[in-house]
Amino acid sequence: MTTEYLLQIDNVSKEYSGNRVLKGVTINIKPGEVHGLVGENGAGKSTLMNILFGMSVIHDTGGYEGNIIIDGNIVNPKTPKESMELGIGMVHQEFMLIPGFSVTENIKLNREVTKDNLFSRILGPKMKTLDFKKMGKDGREALDKLGMSIDEWMPVAGLPVGYMQFVEIAREIDKENLKLLVFDEPTAVLAESEADRFLKIVRKLADLGIAILFISHRLDEIIEITDNITVLRDGEVVSNLATKDADVHKIAELMVGRKLEQTIIKKTRDEREKEDYILELEDLYVDMPGEKVKALNLKVHRGEILGIGGLGGQGKIGVANGIMGLYPTTGKILKNGIPLPLNQPKKALDSGLAFVTEDRRGVGLLLDDSIEHNIAISALQIKNKFLKKLANINMMNEKEIRQHALEMIKELDIRCTGPKQLTRRLSGGNQQKVCIARALTLDPDIVLVSEPTRGIDVGAKKIVLDLLVKLNKELGMTVIITSSELAELRSVSDRIAIVFEGKLEGVLAPDASDVDFGLMMAGEYGKEEVS
């Protein structure tokens, strides 16, 4: 085996309970190389990183096949500590910093420089005094390497976001044996000028001989900074190419790929009256953590199936949650031309919207309640359905609830032992059907469905998607589907809106080219047109 490469990921495969998420992935990285890793959500990037860091989720679920080779030696780290000792460092997407500590303390966290004192001699090394002077010096050195001028004793709390990122990097390069540094979406939170500076630093680190694995959704960045690029799709390496041979188009196409068995339903709809909008979003801001929407404008035709796509964290999930008033929202929402009060879920429901949440178990269900109650409760609350009067008191009409639940169970093919079964005991797909049944019980004219097929098996996926199409076709319901799975959106939607960085990047027809989808998801589409 040659030792030309610093890190070799050799034919690694990983299975989560029968579901292969990585299939024979091989990546080689030389010292001083910046290697880009791109792929859609769910392509297997995080799993690969978890393997590299010896995270326990990997070993708890049966380990993996293949080898991790560093400097020609098979190492296969079993714990994060092991991989740290091997010289693998990581800069996290979320900052793992302690706000109340100073920059230096954060850099030196758990690797503090200590010196002996009277107590430590008696009570052991845990009682050693911190050598603040030496720590400060090390911290300064690391910061200088990054060209950062901030005071090493400033508390981290209150630093601009960009600086926090640099402190994290400083922490990693302060480790003496650092050989490989992994960046996971490092520029996602940075402003443009900070990002530029950051990329320069990455280059500088590479010149010091550190190998860098760079994961990013921003393709222009990848092109700018990396030497080689690996594209993952569905757990497979679809391409391994030198950056000089690649361009944004090519990568976008490789990422999205033609993984769809072409089942696009031929739309026989007439040209709709263009102006008939059932829902208009103007300048919508939604403050949903991790899925912020920033100044989004979107118009929804009456009776269409609109897909909302985009990469994770870009804000697509925030759109539906904002419309329903579940997260602080500003802007303007017009339903049939009438402004919808913001931040009031009840008003949204009253106006004929229904929502199937992406957080099925957290928000979507009363897990310890029966299927029939889960289906009925929203309509009971909003529409005063299923009620009967008893001495002028609104009583639940259990008979009607039961009957309705039985109808729904039959219609949506909910596999259960009966309407009294607790929803906790249902499989993901059947839970999803219960959520949809509840939304339908509201008789909405718009149903918003977020991530309808997340975490459910293939068979159930098809049933759920078919159901949504059926509702649209037969009942004329306007359906807005938000999904991370582009293939799924393309198979059911009339139009697909792609959200990037909280804004609408563009709207595409489902049969638009892979390149267009890829570019839009990477936020490159608008830029193309300008240049």
Binding site: P345, G364, D368, H373, I377
Partner: protein
């Protein structure tokens, strides 16, 4: 083995342990020839007198505020109601109903403000509730001293202001419910009125769960995020649950006192929440879920344990041992149940 495991899962450890302990005590009681009818009569009376206090836990849990450790808040309202009815020399059912009529609005108001407070400290209801309970009891000590009651039944025998520590109900509402339609069968005295009143309260709470308000309150308590997404005003529902719980506590103490024969003032209500909490948890409730059956099963097990253990252990061991063992077991069960997410599945 599989069946056994299913059985244990269904019944839940708390009920199994207490049930087992109770069974052993019953066998011992029989062996030691302790008169069984007397014990049975005692159990029935104690179930009836404590049941409503245990029932008070249910609305609070259903509304998502956890176990209502601030039970003394409702209890002092109930005591005020009873005191006022005595002050006006009302006895029998008139006195009992007057006490309720005074206590219910008072406790509803107290519950409303307590609910407002709990909405500001979500997630810590039980800790805060415990101390609210303690504080209210202590605060009321001042009230008992200063309250302008005049009836010689209520104030100290030597005159002056301030209420007695224990007020006898003998001339007023003593055992009005216990004696109502009561009868003896095979030596067991059945306090019909008391049990019927307990059953009535249980039925009312059960019926409330079947109303629109009840269903919505349950949903709000079961999953706050779900409730918000369903357009439910969660805070309002929580206040509703707390108010109901506090009102039930007020009713509960009046029923308890008439059976006991005395009103206990000052520090007496200090720990009154704990037996009620233990009982409902033993019954299989958890801090997220409680039903009427949990109340009935729990109250029965807890009170039966109390009644049977006393004579048995008094004979077998030192007199104070029974109390010690009982406290260890009931508090141990509270501790165990609080670490569980769910109780038993048997409903």
């Amino acid at each position: 083995m599989e069946d056994l495991k299913n059985f244990i899962d269904k019944v839940g450890y708390p009920r199994l342990i207490i049930g087992g302990f109770l069974l052993i005590l019953c066998i011992l009681a029989a062996v030691l020839a302790i008169p069984i009818p007397g014990l049975l009569g005692d159990i029935l009376t104690r179930v009836g007198m404590n049941g409503i206090l245990v029932l008070a836990m249910v609305p609070a849990i259903q509304a998502g505020a956890g176990l209502n450790f601030a039970l003394p808040l409702g209890i002092v309202c109930g005591l005020i109601g009873a005191l006022i009815s005595i002050e006006f020399k009302l006895g029998g059912f008139t006195g009992f109903i007057t006490a309720l009529l005074v206590a219910i609005p008072l406790s509803a108001i107290a519950g409303y403000f307590y609910g407002q407070m709990l909405n500001r400290i979500k997630g810590q209801e039980m800790t805060v509730g415990t101390y609210v309970g303690f504080s209210v009891v202590s605060g009321m000590c001042i009230f008992w001293l200063l309250a302008p009651f005049r009836s010689p039944e209520l104030i100290w025998a030597y005159g002056g202001t301030g209420l007695r520590v224990t007020v006898s109900l003998e001339s007023t509402i003593d055992k009005v419910l216990n004696n109502f339609l009561s009868f003896s069968i095979a030596g067991v005295r059945v306090p019909t009125g008391l049990l019927a009143f307990f059953a009535l309260c249980c039925f009312a709470v059960w019926l409330f769960g079947k109303t629109k308000s009840g269903a919505i309150m349950n949903a709000a308590g079961a999953n706050e995020k779900f409730a918000i997404a369903t357009g439910i005003n969660v805070n309002q529902q929580r206040i509703l649950g707390i108010v109901l719980s506090t009102v039930l506590a007020a009713i509960g103490i009046i029923v308890y006192s008439q059976s006991f024969g005395f009103l206990q003032l000052y520090n007496a209500p200090l720990y009154s929440a704990f037996p009620a909490v233990a009982a409902v948890l033993i019954g299989g409730a958890s801090i997220k879920k409680a039903t009427i059956s949990h109340v009935i099963i729990g109250t029965f097990l807890f009170q039966a344990l109390l009644v049977v253990s006393l004579p048995v252990i008094n004979i077998l061991a030192d007199g104070s041992m029974s109390e010690v063992i009982r406290i260890i077991i009931s508090n141990g069960i509270i501790l165990y149940a609080l670490t569980r997410k769910t109780g038993g599945d048997l409903t």
